[in-house]
Every structure is written in C-alpha cells, then in structure tokens.
C-alpha cells in the first residue's frame, strides 16, 4: 500500500515538472483527458474520424492542422455541442461522452471560441461573474429580496472576479462594457471567464487569431502563467507556429478529420508528413 501511494505521488511530481508525461501514464495515474476513437460525420462527410488523444494533468497540448481538418469540431465534441457517432471521452477517468454542454462544463471542461463570444452588453466584471454562476450561489428570491446572503455572496463573487481579472491585467477595465475592450483584451477576458468556472481542462480555440506579434508574445506568457498559477491542463488549437512551438509540450496533427501524427512538439514539427500536409516546404 505504502509503496503504491508513493509511486503515485512520484508520478504526480513528474507530471507537474512537465515533459515526461508519457512516463506518468505508464506509472498508472489517470490522465486529465483521454479520448478514444472519436468520430462524427455530417451528411456523409467524416468531419472527425477515429480521433485519439491522452492529455496528462498540467500538460500544455496543441492541436494543429490545415483549415477544415476538424479541429474545432473536436472541441465541439469535447464540450457536448455535438454528440459523437462513436468513441469515448474520459475526463479524469469519468465517462462524459454524450453529456450536455452545461453538464460537461460542470464536470470541468471550459473553452474559448475561435470567433470571440463575450457577453457584449455586460461589463467586464459581470462577464467573469457569470462564469462564477455555479460556484457562488443564492436563490432568485434571495436576490430579489436582497437578503443578507445576496450581499455576502455578491461580495465573494466580486472579490474572486477581481482576482481573476487582475491575473489578466484587466482589473482597471472592470467597469467597461465588454464590447468596448480592445481585441487582445477581449481574448484575455474570454480566458478569464472560462477559468472562472474552475475547470480541470481548458480548451483554447485559436487564442492568437488576429493578434499582432507583440500581442501573441504577451499571450504566450499569459498562457504559461495560467498553467503555472492554476496548475491547469490546456488543450489549444493554433495556427501560429511560433506560439505552438514556443509553449506546447505535445502536439496532435489533424488532417481530413484523421490524426496524422502525434507526439513531442519538436518531433512532430519535423515530421515529413506534417511538413507536406500542413507546414509547407
């Protein structure tokens, strides 16, 4: 028994230090996300075909591939927007296949969107507070009657939301309408909102899209920081190879809905097939 728990601990340690995730899997810990043979087709077109991935706790994982390869469809399958035709999705060993989007969020997957989806008319602070909805509760009646629980929970929510906003350097803009934020900050707010739901796994859909090199560099720092600070497991879709090579530890390459290859970032990016299918000579 004692030896057993020790080995688990060691494995945990190995994961936290990054890199050697493969070994941790062998040591018998449960990966944060395990996907087996995931498929979906739309009217005869196999959008995703036999997708597999294993992501260990604390890993920064990249999903890349040409346009239309099915990357966002994978995200939509993971978050329950689409129900898969075949396959199993295990989050921390728990089967969440075919569950509803809100249930999957409550289980611990949060995401951002390729085209930013903020609550435009709400303030920056309120955007994050909506993310805290399921963690800080009082009933509608308590809210209408302004009972003490309302003030207490609202205070907690404000504090927690401001904490998150300050991580992303958005605390000064907390009163702004979300749609009035500059583009880069909107992307950050979306990440902050996703983190507010306290996820185990964070999915980022092209976080650097539309950013200039400076903003991208800053974003890389932020993503790294989020991983360290929240001990977060992150799966991201990205076309910016500098960002992918800079922060992802492992990669999966999708092409025509199928996994072309997967492995350590440096190996994958030098793979002949990846270069011809996606990166170009």
């Amino acid at each position: 028994m004692a030896a057993d728990s020790k080995s688990v601990k060691m494995a945990d340690g190995a994961v936290k230090s990054g890199g050697s995730a493969g070994q941790a899997a062998k040591a018998g810990t449960v990966p944060t996300l395990e996907v087996k043979n995931l498929s979906i087709s739309f009217g005869g077109l196999k959008a995703v075909d036999g997708f597999n991935v294993v992501i260990e706790k604390g890993q920064l994982y990249g999903l890349i591939g040409p346009n239309g390869a099915g990357k966002t469809t994978v995200f939509n399958l993971l978050t329950g927007v689409y129900k898969p035709d075949t396959g199993v999705i295990l989050l921390d060993g728990k089967n969440i296949t075919g569950r509803k989007t809100i249930e999957i969020n409550q289980e611990g997957i949060a995401r951002t969107f390729q085209n930013i989806r903020l609550f435009k008319e709400l303030s920056v602070l309120d955007n994050v507070k909506v993310g805290l909805h399921n963690h800080h509760k009082y009933s509608t009646l308590e809210g209408i009657l302004r009972l003490p629980s309302f003030y207490k929970v609202e205070k907690e929510m404000n504090e927690r939301a401001m904490e998150l906003l300050s991580v992303f350097d958005l605390d000064k803009e907390c009163d702004y309408k979300a749609s009035n934020l500059p583009y880069g900050k909107q992307r950050k707010l979306e990440i902050a909102r996703a983190l507010a739901t306290d996820p185990k796994l964070l999915l980022l859909d092209e976080p650097a899209a539309g950013m200039n090199p400076n903003e991208t560099a800053e974003l890389m720092e932020t993503i790294r920081f989020v991983r360290e600070k929240f001990n977060m497991t992150i799966l991201l879709i990205e076309h910016d190879m500098k960002l992918v090579a800079g922060i992802c530890e492992r990669l999966t390459v999708l092409n025509f809905g199928q996994v072309l290859t997967q492995g350590e970032t440096s190996e994958v990016l030098n793979d002949r097939r990846v270069i011809t299918a996606y990166l170009g000579e």
Binding site: L122, K129, V130, L145
Partner: protein
Amino acid sequence: MTKNKVRIQNAVTYGMVILFWVVIQVMDKTGHLSSLFKGLLVPLCMYAILAVSLNLTVGILGELSLGHAGFMCLGAFSGAFLTNCLETAVPSVGLRFFMALILGALVAGVFGLLIGIPVLRLKGDYLAIVTLAFGEIIKNLINVLYVGRDSNGFHFSMKDTTSLGMDKETGVVLIKGAQGITGTPRAATFTIGILLLLLTLFIVLNLIHSRTGRAIMSIRDNRIAAESIGINITKYKLMAFSISAALAGMAGVLYAHSLSTLKASSDNFGYNKSILILVFVVLGGLGNMRGSIIAAMLLTALPELLRGLNDYRMLIYAIVLIVMTIFNSSPKAIELRSVVMSKLRGGAKKEVA
C-alpha cells in the same frame, strides 16, 4: 463604481415614480385635475407596469413576445373572478382585491411557464408569431367561457348560460361569455397603481442586478457562450418569461378592478394591445425600465390630453411617435446628441477655466 452607479440609477427611477405620485396628489388636492385625467391615472400605472414587465422579456431576455395582452387577460379574469366569488366569504373589498392580485399574478405566471416551454424553443420572428397566436387563443377562449356557481359548486361551459345546468334558485353566473364579468368592485386607485408599479420595479430591477439577471442577460448576449460556462438556458429563459407574464397578470387585475364590466374583447386584450405595449418598450429603450415607464405614461396620456384638438389628435400622436423614435434610436440622432452633449460639457469646462 458601477455598483454605486446602478444604485443611483435605480433610486432616480423610484424617485421619479414617487414624485409623479406626489405631483398628482397635490394637483388633485388643489383641484387642478380634470375628471378626464383622473380617469386616466389607473391606466397610466397599468401600462407602465405592462411596459416594465414586457421589457424584462424583450430587453433583458432578448426575446420578442407579442402575447403580453394575453397574460394580462388571464390575470384580469382570474382576479375579477376571485373578487366576485368571495363576495360573501370575505366582506372586505381591500382584502379581496389583494388576494385577487396574488391569484392573477400566479395564474398568469403559471400559464407563462406552460406556454414558455414550447414557445421558447423558437427564436426571433418565429417566437413573436407564436406568442401572438397564444395571446389570441387565450383571449378567444375566455371570450366563450361561461362559469356559474350554485349550491352544488362550480359549473363550466363553452356554449351558453343555460348549458351550465345550474340550480335555478341558487345559481349565479360569474363569467358570462362575451359579456364577461360584471359587478367587480372598482377598488383600483391611483395610489394602489403606483404601489404596484413600485413593486414591479423592485422585482425587475433587483432581478436584473443579481446572479439570475446576469444569467438571463448572458443568454441574450450569447447563448452558446452562456451554455459553455454552465448556464442552464431553459431554466433562466422560462424564469424571465414567467415572471414577466406574472407581472402582466397583476396589471390585468388592476385593470379589472377599474372597470365595472370586464370583457375579453379585442379592444381590451387583442394583439393591438400587445403591440402597443411593445411600442412603449421599444420607444423607452430595450432594457431601460425608466424609459419604458416614461414612454408608457406619455403615450397613454397624450391622446386624452389632445382631445380638444379632435380631428388632429391621432395625427399628432403618430407624429410624436415618429419623432420620439427617431430621436431615441436613429444612429445619426444619437451621434448628434452625443456631439451636443460633449459641446455643452466642453463649454461648461471652458467657462470654469
């Protein structure tokens, strides 16, 4: 910062309503109020309540509903029915009226929930059309409903009074089809109307600035994103829709107690009325409760105040409507307004300097 701002804004809204009440009281005491205008006071409150409650659906939830008059109709009839039923059991008119308000709101709220389940699956124009249809169905069903009571209990019919089959001696017809309900005590006063308007504001404003309100608005702004962070879309949509319906039902009870005869006619509860309420909401600004109240009161009072102009009054009403809409909502007008405002502010600053 924002929290205080919200508090100030809400206080201004409550203050405005209370001020209106005070002004009317003073005018009444000093004899400056025409009997025509006195008759308008309860409808003014009623329309303001209807506009605020519809704004919860249209402005906060972001769904276009054209069946608001239907919920008002439900409230009006169930409330008036209760008041007449309990005439002997509860002698106090005030108490009966109070119970009627609660029942009317409850009935309308429950129907809002039941109708909301199928209707809220639709979006935009489709939802508007279906709510319009439901509003008409409610009105038309009540229009052919006969209810009577005798020593054996209640009798219902959709045909006529004789088919109720009541005992001749003890039978009393309570709802008489197209002739509706007669003899409801006219207990609705301006003060009660204002109190109900304040209650409506209290419920709606507190709801908006709470956890529930944020969830509702997040659905309006982006349904997919709201779902992705664990907001139960169906629950909050239904909640907003049925609270909105319940408040409309309450306004209906107020209306029923300001008339001696309540009929489910098209004039009272037809889709024209639903659209009229929507006009108040759009004109006052989506999500802007104070605007809804101002628009509802102005546009309700205007045709009556212009009665002296006879032939031209509807023309003037229409022109005012057009001008108000342009001033409030046209992009050019908004731009012009902000330029004028900033110049005024800039001028003030220069003077100080």
